[in-house]
């Protein structure tokens, strides 16, 4: 579904992505992990076309990411932190995105219930807590039932209950043959959910495989330990 071939990106003198080649399949939850500044966010932004790679090629559903924008109707993206317009309410935001994507039918009722958002629908964003904003963020990406979900730290700021609900929902979506790509640094969560882990270190793919394989390879009891061991090895 998503094919990344030898992608490189520098920000000034800092090399963020250093030749990345991966293929991400549908019906799987793929997690991108790595230490801070390993290039997780940059990688995800490249996938949606927010960051233009210096070289290499990215194809999503067969479309060249940087040639066109129509393919993005396949994608739902949850950025790490969004600064919503302060004076609009979630209901207005949902309506706005429906209009923008030209999908008037997607009312997202299921997600609003799942994330327990009803009470906040008509309050301006500036009055909402960080957690509620994150729920709005997730709802905005998911309500259009996209083929590919790209989520940057989706559980940050969520209460444990909502966090659990979100995981169940993601598993359901996987069962519906969706492509789900997460960036996260909560490794326990990743271990629980992921079919596949891509470990980025200094802009390279250091490990790519099932969590189980990482544990076997390093001989550690948990994925978290395994990742830590790989980090030590790598640096």
């Amino acid at each position: 579904m998503v094919e990344v071939a030898n992608v490189k990106k520098r920000f000034g003198s800092v090399s963020a992505l250093n030749g990345i080649t991966v293929t991400i399949r549908r019906g799987q939850i793929t997690s991108v992990v790595g230490p801070n500044a390993a290039g997780k966010s940059t990688f995800l932004k490249c996938l949606v076309g927010l960051v233009r790679p210096d070289s290499g090629e990215i194809r999503v559903g067969g479309h060249d990411v940087n040639r066109d924008w129509r393919w993005r109707r396949l994608v739902g993206y949850v950025p790490q932190a969004v600064h919503f317009p302060e004076n609009l309410s979630p209901r207005e935001l949902f309506a706005f995105f429906r209009k923008l994507r030209g999908t008037p039918g997607a009312d997202g009722r299921e997600l609003i219930e799942l994330l327990n958002l009803e009470a906040s629908l008509d309050r301006p964003v500036r009055q909402l807590s960080g957690g509620t904003r994150q729920k709005v963020n997730i709802a905005l990406a998911a309500m259009f039932d996209p083929e590919i979900l790209i989520m940057d730290e989706p559980t940050v700021g969520l209460d444990p209950l909502t966090s659990q609900r979100q995981k169940r929902w993601l598993e359901r979506e996987r069962a519906r043959d969706k492509t789900i790509i997460l960036a996260s640094h909560v490794i326990a969560e990743v271990e629980e959910l992921s079919d596949r882990v891509i470990f980025l270190l200094e802009g390279r793919v250091y490990f790519d495989g099932a969590p189980r394989e990482a544990i076997q390879m390093t001989g550690q009891p948990t994925l978290e330990r395994a990742i830590a061991a790989m980090m030590e090895q790598g640096s």
Partner: protein, 263 residues
């Protein structure tokens, strides 16, 4: 096009609910009412309003333009991940910001103008020109703000540059004109001055409105020449072309960077 309109509407809606926009609108309303109520002559009031408009509209437009660009920047990450083109997002945000500021300005001045316009019907053409000029300046200076903000990662740096740009157009440029006049006073400078004035949207707007007012009589030979030029088809075309080019240039610079940059 539909997407630009949607984006512009929401970005305008956001600004319209902002406290600052309301203040801006109210400011002009109070100002104009005060000048018309306490000034003895409608023409005098128009001149006083003109002075404030020429200072405040570009300043607020460029500062609010920069600020609203940065405020919308993180949100723009989400917008750009939607099935819309980058140009669409850029134009949508630009149109929304400029239109809502222009609207706040137009409502703020428009209500007192309509109110007092009945008593000063001979000034109504000038009032319309003043409104129109203010709106054009808003669009130009928001475009300049976006062009600056797109290219500058640091919000404070962009704000500083914006204020400098405003100072340049509002004050420094006229200082340079004066320097030219003093340095070349023995030459017939009218045509050069005409060119210099037309290049600065603030000067152009000021002169166009002054020429409609009776203070134009104080402008002597130079004023007569300006009046003749701006009354001719060539002058009208040149003036509107210059204003449009400023806006188009700033929008183009902003848009071209916006399309290439990373978020």
């Amino acid at each position: 096009m539909r997407q630009i309109a949607t984006l512009a509407r929401y970005s305008a809606l956001e600004l319209a609910r902002s406290w600052w926009t309301a203040c801006y609108c109210l400011f002009f309303m109070v100002l104009a009412f005060a000048f018309f109520a306490f000034g003895e002559e409608p023409a005098q009031a128009v001149v006083s309003v003109l002075n404030v408009v020429l200072l405040v509209v570009p300043f607020v437009s460029i500062v609010m333009g920069v600020l609203s660009f940065y405020t919308a920047r993180e949100f723009a990450e989400l917008l750009l991940a939607q099935p819309v083109g980058r140009l669409t997002v850029f134009f949508g945000q630009y149109m929304g910001t400029a239109a809502s500021l222009a609207l706040a300005f137009a409502i703020g001045l428009g209500i007192p103008f309509v109110w007092y316009g009945w008593n000063a019907r001979e000034q109504s053409g000038t009032l319309v020109a003043l409104l129109f000029g203010g709106i054009l300046l808003t669009f130009i200076f928001v475009a300049l703000a976006f062009a600056l903000a797109v290219r500058t990662e640091n919000r404070l740096k962009a704000l500083g540059a914006a204020i400098f740009l405003w100072l340049f157009f509002a004050l420094v440029y006229d200082g340079l004109i004066l320097a030219v006049i003093v340095a070349f006073s023995s030459f017939p400078l009218e045509k050069v001055l005409l060119g210099l004035i037309i290049l600065n949207p603030l000067d152009l707007a000021r002169i166009l409105i002054l020429l409609r007012l009776d203070v134009a009589a104080l402008m002597g030979y130079t004023g007569a020449l300006f009046r003749q030029f701006f009354g001719s088809p060539l002058g009208i075309v040149a003036a509107s072309a210059c204003l449009t080019v400023w806006m188009a240039l700033a929008v183009a610079v902003g848009a071209s960077t916006y399309v290439r940059r990373d978020f």
